[in-house]
């Protein structure tokens, strides 16, 4: 079922490379840039920081948010990134200058997730106000191009891959908006869907639900190919991630442990304690054995192999 391109699964990297503790307060998200040579982290301290995971250096700090930063997304050309958070607006930053040159306002609640499409012409933002707004990055228009209002509860995550926009909502649905087909496919998980990860070929969606499980959803059929369980995820939004080559699935749970599973078989590959407190975000380098965990203990840890 899984694409053949997936490499042989490996246990999540457990060697701590760096502990980056310059955020004050919980770190909500830590995402790689396109190309995965840097990563961005956003936290409760309203700061966005750009790091070099190899050296552990803080490259730049972006301040401008008035509330916590909840979501980050980098454009494919790495010149800009978008951030969102408690201030109900979406910021678009220039990576080099550190200015937020765009600010999209219109959400009525805090914005949980942002996502660019493949050419960064569309920025999607999912909010607590149950809507997903599609902002036009190419024009100076400040109104959203479209508002997706199907969700009945807070939209926790948005992911775009190709012509698909996938949203996960607390109402227990993962919604796949097929722009090309003009179709909305709604998949029901009886639990709040907190995070989404689409595979490169847009066939699978890795989504976490608050019943301590991760599901690999086949976007075509709506069937769950595998469910990954064992960890604890019942109250926080915590993102799972595909390991290198999408052969494994990693996720940090609320106990501060990192879990790894084989994507294909669903077998547990490893589990180790990484943080003292809940891990709120896990990102894995798409190719290398390198992993980021952002935790509510205020640190971002970079994991690698020896």
């Amino acid at each position: 079922m899984a694409p053949k391109s997936r490499t042989a699964p490996r246990a999540p990297p457990s060697h701590l490379l760096w502990t980056l503790a310059s955020h004050k307060g919980p770190v909500h998200t830590a995402v790689y840039n396109t190309g995965s040579s840097y990563f961005l982290s956003g936290g409760q301290d309203r700061q966005i920081k750009l790091w070099n995971p190899k050296s552990g250096m803080e490259v730049k700090a972006y301040s401008g948010h008035g509330y916590e930063v909840l979501g980050l997304c980098c454009t494919p050309d790495n010149t800009k990134f978008a951030s969102c958070g408690g201030d109900r607006s979406v910021f678009v930053w220039d990576v080099a200058t550190g200015d937020s040159f765009r600010r999209f306002q219109g959400h009525m609640g805090k914005v949980n997730a942002v996502a660019f499409n493949s050419d960064a012409s569309i920025l999607a933002s999912g909010s607590f106000d149950t809507t997903v707004r599609l902002w036009d990055m190419k024009s100076q228009q400040r109104m959203p191009l479209q508002i997706l209002e199907e969700a009945r509860d807070s939209v926790m995550s948005v992911a775009i891959r190709g012509h698909l926009i996938v949203t996960g909502s607390v109402d227990g649905y993962a919604r796949t908006y097929d722009i090309r087909k003009g179709e909305l496919r709604t998949d029901f998980f009886d639990q709040p869907v907190t995070s989404l990860n689409i595979t490169a070929d847009a066939s699978l969606v890795l989504l976490t639900t608050l019943d301590s499980s991760i599901h690999a959803l086949d976007l075509d059929s709506g069937r769950v190919l595998k469910s990954f369980k064992g960890h604890k995820n019942t109250s926080y939004r915590s993102a799972a991630a595909f390991g290198p080559g999408e052969g494994s699935v990693v996720m940090g749970d609320e106990d501060g442990k990192i879990w790894g599973w084989d994507t294909e078989t669903g077998e547990k590959l490893g589990e180790f304690k990484a943080h003292d407190r809940a891990i709120l975000w896990t990102s894995h380098h798409p190719k290398e054995q390198q992993m980021l965990t952002a935790s509510s203990d205020g640190t971002v840890k970079v994991w690698g192999t020896r």
Partner: protein, 947 residues
């Protein structure tokens, strides 16, 4: 240098020596008002600069801004016109030099004064009587008023300066408005007011007034001449009050005359306090009149000569010098009809002129001794107005209504409801409780009758004015059965109290209807408790009296409509809907058909999700209409370009879905044409569409919702399905509200096209039978269509859809006797049979339940994927095929809508039985099987047959 040295010196010096060196003794400018002081708070504090306004001390706006006139002091103070300085035109003062000469200085000064200066000047002026009001030298003619003071007879024109000054105080201005008006109306000075009288009447009047007419008028011959004329009535002579005249007695009040003092008056006999009060009142009255009388008598005969000018003033012949006038009745005169006041007005019948004079004020500071045996009892005074006085004055105390009835007016409109009629029972109870809280507190807490009599243990009936009591009688009765705390005894007493207060019942003497009653505890009320109870009644009457007049119209009854459902507060939470069915019309039917307790249970999707069986059960597919620009940004074609919004809406392909879900193609082996209405609608759409090819193609490819919607039902075939067509009758509670699924449906008034239209469209077929049902021709029409479609159909699964319909046509059964029953109740098996068989995934899903789950899953998945890829391949390669889909949809739009409508209004549409009996179906199915085998020769099988 010097300053530097000084600075150093200061720095080096200690604080004590030069502590005040830093202190500044110079202040420049006006200090800003303290920010903390609320009095001097800047009203412009929160305004932006351009909105701030400046006012001068008098609160006027004088600074207008540069472009609107600048500092306006010039205009307001000097210039005199808004536009600016107007040069005054030259005006010769030659003509009015005298005037201009004497006013020039003042006016010139005034013209340079602004409003403040003028106001200052005005305030500095002394108030004095203007020249017009100053007493002019007395006119040569006799003035009655002046005569009084100056004692000036017409013959004696000079007046003493003292009296003249005194008179000037009283002398009216010559131009009083009243006098002017009177003159305008024909009155002349010195005449009386009223209609003209004859000579005889005038004479009589003169006698009554105690005036003496002129001797000439008294003449007999004059009377003869005078009787021919009407005369103005005589003027009523003015009477000067005493105290004014006696200027020496400055200490006395108006009309006061020294007389017998209070003690003397009291000494006459034993009197009660009340009597004293009345007597003193009487004395006062007496003083005003009686003593002035005596003063009048003192004034002397020649002083009291009243001139009466009659018939104009052209002649003095009619002037009459009033002689001595003694109109005052003798002080001790017995009361009689002839009694009159000093000015001649008759004493009203029933009244008696009190002429008792009182002696001078008592010099003693001591209060008069109370009568013997008198004890202070304030309660008696308090009770008097309510009981005895009101009783006494009952005859006069008519309210508007009573007067109206006396006058024979029509009865007023019914008393408007009280606010309290609109209150809920609970609120009323609370109110009643609040008003009776004191009594309620007291009642249970009284342990027994108090041993010692309370000092004020006297029955005191609280005063309540009659109209209020009357209104309260008509208003809400706080103790009646309609209230929340019915208490018949209290209600009776309350009513009694109100009646008493409204004087509806007569109370003789001091016997009141109220007495201490038996309390529920068996004890007798004490007087204080009784008082409290009555007090409570009075309060209740005040509170519960109806709103009067205009205010009443402002209230509307909140609880008048028992029909209106109570709107629940808070957010509306839609009931949990089956996500698998939320996308289409079928879903709404399923949701409506579910029992309430079933709704509470897990939905199939929930069950599936919990069981970990994600897939069709948990997936819903619906239309998503991306914005054009979004499509552009994503680099894809707008999938719904050119398709109207309502065409796709929420349910994919309206009629197609319904047709498919309700057995339009008769899939699953059941008899074709079972759903006549739907089948017909679909067939209509089919006919009106441009061709079968176009219609079938998207049917197959673009209608995945069909299967998805259908799956939950097809999966639990074993379980008896809920009645499907049981569309909930809208109840009064749900109509128009949030959870009314059919909200606004009736507005889309759908009228079925008359039969002849159908006939006109479909009657071209040869084998049309007039006697058949509506759907008969259609179904039969499909036969040639079928033949037309078969060669062109590219997919195998198109065929069963058509074949089933056409095969069913000959076996068209009779309409069901109870069409609505059969229409609403459908067996699960039939539902499954209605499932469109031309959708491969759907049929596989249904079949999957019977066959092994694992294989079916695999197959399904693969097939599904294939379908998906196929659709996209088509997009790339076979552009026309995909393009055909929307076009076809559009063309079939009307039919689809019709079909939808029919589906919804099925229970009302009796003439076209929508279903057939299952047994007939079975028979039909058997027949069809044979026929189908014959017709198709096994060439095509349904998609479900493949498994």
């Amino acid at each position: 240098m010097a300053s530097a040295r000084l600075k150093r010196k200061i720095e080096n010096a200690d604080e004590a020596a030069y502590g005040n060196l830093n202190e500044s003794f110079v202040s420049c400018g006006t200090p800003l008002p303290s920010l903390a002081d609320p009095k001097t708070k800047d009203s412009n504090e929160f305004k932006p600069l351009w909105q701030q306004e400046v006012f001068d001390e008098q609160g006027r706006k004088r600074l207008h801004g540069a472009f609107t006139g600048g500092f306006s002091a010039g205009y307001f103070n000097t210039v005199g016109s808004k536009e600016g300085w107007t040069p005054s035109t030259f005006k010769s003062s030659r003509d009015n030099r005298a005037q201009g000469g004497n006013k020039s200085v003042q006016d010139a000064a005034k013209s340079y004064m602004d409003a403040e200066d003028l106001a200052e000047m005005a305030s500095s002026r002394q108030l004095e009587t203007s020249s017009t009001y100053k007493s002019a030298p007395p006119p040569p003619t006799y003035d009655p008023l002046m005569g009084l003071f100056g004692g000036a007879a017409p013959s004696a024109p000079t007046v003493e300066p003292a009296t003249a000054a005194l008179a000037s105080l009283i002398e009216p201005a010559s131009t009083r408005v009243g006098a002017k008006l009177m003159r305008r109306m024909g009155w002349r000075d010195g005449q009386g007011v009223g209609p003209r009288v004859t000579f005889e009447q005038r004479k009589k009047q003169a006698v009554e007034l105690g005036l003496k007419l002129d001797a000439e008028e008294d003449d007999e011959d004059g009377a003869g001449e005078a009787s021919k004329h009407y005369f103005a009535p005589l003027d009523r002579p003015l009477k000067l009050l005493e105290a004014v005249g006696i200027s020496s007695d400055r200490g006395w009040g108006l009309g006061y005359k020294p007389g017998p003092n209070m003690a003397k008056a009291l000494g006459v006999g034993p009197v009660t306090g009340e009597d004293v009060a009345i007597q003193t009142m009487g004395d006062d009255d007496d003083d005003v009149y009686g003593d002035s009388m005596s003063m009048g008598s003192l004034a002397g005969g020649d002083k009291k000569r009243y001139g009466v000018i009659e018939l104009g003033d052209e002649d003095d012949d009619y002037r009459m010098a009033g002689s001595h006038r003694r109109s005052r009745p003798t002080p001790r005169a017995p009361p009689s009809a002839s009694q009159s006041f000093h000015d001649g007005a008759r004493v009203l019948p029933g009244f008696e002129l009190h002429s008792e004079t009182s002696s001078g004020a008592s010099t003693s500071q001591l209060p008069p001794p109370p009568p013997r045996g008198w004890t202070p009892d304030p309660a008696r005074i308090w009770t008097e107005p309510s009981s005895t006085d009101s009783d006494k004055g009952k005859g006069r105390q008519l309210d508007a209504e009573q007067r109206g009835t006396l006058l024979g007016e029509p009865a007023p409109p019914p008393v408007p409801k009280s606010v309290f009629d609109y209150l809920s029972a609970k609120a009323k109870e609370r109110l009643a409780f609040a008003t009776s809280s004191s009594a309620a507190d007291a009642l249970p807490s009284t342990p027994s009758a108090p041993a010692a009599p309370e000092p004020d243990a006297e029955l005191h009936i609280p005063p309540l004015d009659g109209p209020t009591a009357l209104a309260a009688l008509k208003g809400f009765q706080p103790f009646s059965n309609s209230s929340t705390s019915p208490d018949p005894i209290r209600q009776k007493r309350y009513t009694l109290f109100l009646q008493l207060s409204a004087h509806l019942i007569d109370v003789k003497g001091s016997t009141l209807p109220f007495g201490p009653r038996q309390l529920p505890s068996g004890k007798t009320q004490t007087i204080s408790e009784l008082n409290r109870e009555l007090q409570e009644y009075a309060q209740a009457a005040q509170v519960f009296k109806p709103v009067s007049g205009m205010l009443a119209g402002r209230f509307t009854s909140g609880g008048s409509g028992g029909l209106v459902p109570k709107v629940e507060p808070g957010l509306y939470q839609p009931p949990a809907k089956d996500p698998a069915t939320s996308s289409g019309g079928l879903g709404s039917f399923a949701a409506a058909g579910l029992e309430p307790q079933l709704v509470q249970k897990l939905t199939p999707a929930q069950e599936a999700a919990r069981a970990g069986q994600w897939g069709e059960a948990t997936r819903t597919t619906s239309i998503f209409r991306p914005a054009g620009l979004v499509c552009k940004r994503f680099g894809v074609k707008d999938p719904w370009k050119g398709v109207a919004e309502e065409d796709i809406g929420n349910d994919v392909g309206g009629a197609w879905k319904e047709a498919g879900s309700t057995g339009w193609n008769g899939g699953g082996g059941s008899g074709g044409g079972t759903k006549e209405a739907l089948g017909q609608a679909s067939m209509d759409a089919l006919m009106q569409s441009s061709g079968f090819k176009k219609f079938q193609q998207p049917m197959y490819e673009e209608d995945p919702p069909l299967e998805d919607v259908d799956v939950p039902f097809s999966q639990d075939q074993a379980a008896p399905a809920p009645p499907r067509k049981q569309v909930e009758k809208p109840t009064l509670e749900s109509v128009g509200l949030g959870d009314d699924d059919k909200q606004g449906e009736e507005t889309l008034t759908y009228t079925k096209a008359p039969k002849d239209i159908f006939a006109a469209i479909f009657a071209d077929s040869d084998d049309e039978d007039e006697d058949d049902d509506d759907d008969e021709p259609i179904v039969q029409d499909s036969a040639p269509v079928k033949s037309a479609i078969l060669p062109s159909s590219e997919t195998t699964s198109n065929a069963p859809a058509i074949t089933s319909t056409t095969v069913a046509a000959p076996t068209q059964p009779e309409p069901e006797p109870e069409p609505d029953v059969s229409a609403t109740v459908l067996d699960t098996s039939t539902i499954a049979d209605y499932r469109p068989s031309f959708v491969p995934t759907s049929s596989r899903a249904t079949n999957g339940t019977s066959s092994s789950a694992a294989t079916s899953g695999k197959k399904k998945k693969s097939s599904k994927r294939k379908a998906a890829t196929l659709s996209f391949d088509v997009d790339e390669g076979e552009e026309g095929a995909v393009e055909a889909a929307p076009k076809k949809k559009k063309s079939a739009d009307g039919a689809k809508r019709k079909a939808k409508k029919e589906l919804k209004e099925e229970d009302e549409w009796a003439e076209a039985p929508s279903t057939v009996h299952p047994e007939i179906l079975k028979a039909a199915e058997a027949k069809r099987e044979e026929k189908g085998a014959e017709a198709l020769g096994g060439g095509r099988s349904r998609a479900s047959d493949l498994f």
